[in-house]
């Protein structure tokens, strides 16, 4: 089928184009709203700035298709092959991308608000600046969560997104908005999270081993049992964060703000808290073997039964601190 032929049939009222072959077709800026391209072959087709809202591309082949600026709102892209497709600045609001292959796709500044991305393959995809508010990326019953290993999500907007169990290891999330995001059981090992906003995010049981969280905002984040070994939290904001039973051994928290954070039963061995503000924190039963607390502010911190014997407290402020033996420091 040729592009011209397709447009003629569409303007005559036809919408069923299932299984057609339109490889490399030139369809820039066309209006094909609501058309059905299920199982069609549109590999390498040019659909830039096309109007394709509510169209169906169920199981269609859109490999290397040029869809920059296309309007695909509420389109059905179930199990479509969009690998290496260009979706720069495309609008996919409320689209169904369940099980779609988006590996190496360019989704720079794309609108993915409320999109269904469960089981989608986003490995190596570029999601820089993309908006994923309300998007569904959650883990299905048996399979793993969304596959975003090494994905580029710099400056992406993921506020309130459901990323339970998602694989975000080594992902670039610098400056991203993850406030109120649901990241329980997610793998964020070695992820780049410098300056990211994770305020009130749910990160319980998440893996953050070796993650870079420099200057990240983790205000009131729920991080129970999370694994933050060797993570970099320099100058991060962790006020009122819940880190009960979290593992922070060898983590760097220099100049971090931990006011009123809950750190009971936390493993803080060999962690570096130089110049950090730990005032009003709860550190009951915390394990601080060889932790560096040089010039840290521990004013009114509660350290009952904490293991402090090998910690370095040079120049630390202990005014009103409850010490491991239950006594109050003058």
């Amino acid at each position: 089928m040729t592009a011209q032929n397709l447009l003629q049939r569409y303007s005559a009222g036809e919408v069923d184009f299932r299984g057609v072959s339109l490889v490399s077709a030139q369809l820039e800026k066309v209006d094909l709203i609501g058309a059905n391209f299920a199982n069609a072959d549109l590999e390498n087709a040019n659909l830039m700035l096309a109007y394709l809202s509510r169209a169906s591309f169920c199981q269609a082949n859109l490999m290397r298709a040029r869809l920059a600026g296309a309007n695909l709102n509420q389109a059905n892209l179930l199990q479509a092959n969009l690998s290496d497709a260009d979706l720069h600045g495309a609008s996919l609001q409320g689209a169904s991308l369940y099980g779609a292959d988006l590996s190496l796709a360019n989704l720079l500044d794309a609108n993915l608000i409320d999109a269904d991305l469960r089981e989608a393959n986003l490995s190596g995809a570029n999601l820089t600046g993309a908006c994923l508010r309300g998007a569904n990326l959650r883990q299905e019953n048996r399979g793993g969560g969304a596959y975003l290993r090494g994905a580029n999500l710099r400056q992406a907007d993921l506020q309130g997104a459901n990323l339970r169990g998602a694989d975000l290891a080594k992902a670039d999330l610098r400056g991203a908005n993850l406030s109120e995001a649901f990241l329980r059981d997610a793998d964020l090992s070695k992820a780049k999270l410098q300056g990211a906003n994770l305020a009130q995010a749910s990160l319980s049981d998440a893996l953050l081993i070796g993650a870079d969280l420099t200057k990240a905002n983790l205000t009131a984040a729920k991080m129970q049992r999370s694994q933050l070994m060797q993570a970099n939290l320099t100058q991060a904001i962790l006020t009122e964060a819940n880190l009960v039973e979290a593992k922070l051994s060898r983590a760097v928290l220099t100049e971090a703000n931990l006011v009123k954070a809950r750190l009971s039963r936390t493993d803080l061995s060999r962690a570096n808290f130089c110049g950090a503000d730990l005032s009003y924190t709860t550190l009951v039963d915390a394990y601080l073997a060889r932790a560096k607390l040089v010039e840290a502010n521990l004013t009114a911190a509660l350290m009952t039964r904490a293991e402090l014997s090998s910690a370095d407290l040079t120049g630390a402020n202990l005014t009103g601190t409850t010490m491991p033996d239950g006594s109050t420091h003058p």
Binding site: A68, G69, S91, G129, C131, R154, N177
Partner: protein, 388 residues
């Protein structure tokens, strides 16, 4: 309907229609051949700064500007002098002297009518002034307290001082000696609406070195002054009087039959009703939004327009019309919407600057219709991020 005997009961109060109200003065000035210069001169006298940008001038109603002037200058002579001072600071004095004459001659009839009905006016002014004074004094103290407690106290005082004295004061000792409450009162008299305050602050900040810092300081000031611009609401008893007066008006005859005092009451309430209507919409009173977090702005853009078209237009706005060539696309892919928005804020200093650039570029690019829609949407959502 019964004919009304003119001689009964009106005393010194002529019917309201006999006043040449401010609206009439404003209307005739607006219809004048030199209306643009008239507005510039009235605006210049009002704001103490000369404005040539038609987009900014259009934001201010001549009627409101005249009202500010008349409230500030109680006699025709005082007004004459103030307008004269503005003219003396201009290059084209001869032309503007004629413009000043037109304004003065129109204002003359207004001032004359005011002195004719001095009894009623006195009553009106007395009532309204007392109410306003009561509301304001407390607010001045509250604003002074906000200023004193702010970490930006010095910068806030500098801005207030600059509005009141039309000069930038850097000496911390001089600033420390300032009576803050009196300074705030002075500023309030000079700048009676939130719109005026926003304009004044914008003008001052344009001249400064640390513009970004002062933009957030101005924001604090706008928020603190909100209480003054919102409060001008009459108390309940007066609202009831308004209702009564309205009922009276609907019967047609009664207001004219009422004695002098009744008429004055209605006048007083009318004036308060005007004040009440002047309570300004929140977006005018609030300061500009925070440019360090553009996630809300980006979300707005996605809601109302296509992200790629928005990027093309912003890129064109900052770097010249987009080429739609392979190299054009390549360079667009190297920038995020966030970065383009920041570049646009840095490049377009004022909102009118942004609006005109977007409009021009929308027509320079392919599919002008679509781009006009995009330009409109972008301008609308970026507006709250501009002070001016």
């Amino acid at each position: 309907m019964q004919a009304f005997p003119q001689s009964v009961g009106i005393g010194k109060m002529p019917p309201l229609e006999a006043h040449p109200p401010l609206e009439t003065v404003a209307d005739s000035l607006e219809q004048h051949a030199s209306s643009r210069r008239i507005k510039k001169l009235v605006f210049g006298t009002c704001q103490n700064s000369w404005e040539n940008d038609p987009a900014i001038l259009a934001k201010f109603e001549l009627r409101e500007l005249l009202k500010t002037l008349i409230n500030r200058y109680p006699t025709l002579d005082a007004l004459k002098q103030a307008v004269g001072r503005t003219v003396a600071s201009l290059n084209r004095q001869q032309i503007y002297e004629e413009v000043a004459e037109v304004i003065i001659s129109q204002a003359e009839s207004f001032y004359a009518s005011q002195s004719d009905h001095s009894t009623a006016t006195a009553l009106l002014t007395h009532d309204a002034t007392q109410l306003e004074a009561r509301l304001d004094t407390g607010s001045y103290e509250a604003i002074a307290q906000t200023v004193k407690q702010s970490s930006q106290q010095l910068r806030l005082t500098k801005l207030l001082y600059c509005i009141a004295h039309d000069a930038w004061e850097n000496n911390p000792q001089t600033l420390a000696q300032v009576n803050l409450i009196a300074l705030i009162e002075q500023v309030h008299q000079l700048v009676p609406t939130a719109k005026d305050l926003k304009y004044r602050l914008g003008r001052i900040i344009q001249q400064l070195n640390h513009q970004n810092e002062y933009r957030s300081v101005a924001d604090i000031l706008l928020k603190a002054f909100r209480v003054l611009y919102q409060q001008s609401q009459p108390d309940l008893s007066c609202l009831e009087r308004v209702d009564l007066a309205e009922k009276a008006t609907s019967t047609q005859l009664e207001p004219l039959l009422s004695p002098v005092v009744g008429g004055a009451t209605r006048l007083a309430c009318d004036s308060l009703r005007v004040i009440k209507n002047e309570a300004e919409p929140a977006y005018l009173i609030a300061g500009p939004r925070d440019r360090s977090n553009l996630f809300p702005l980006r979300l707005e853009i996605l809601k109302y327009t296509n992200p790629l078209r928005a990027k093309i237009l912003l890129q064109s706005c900052v770097h010249g019309p987009f080429s739609f060539t392979e190299s054009g696309w390549r360079s667009l892919r190297t920038k995020t919407l966030e970065e383009l928005l920041q570049e646009t804020f840095a490049y377009c200093k004022t909102f009118s600057d942004l609006e005109s650039k977007l409009t021009i570029l929308a027509h320079c690019l392919d599919s002008a219709d679509e781009n006009t829609q995009v330009a409109g949407a972008i301008a609308r959502v970026m507006k709250p991020y501009y002070l001016l």
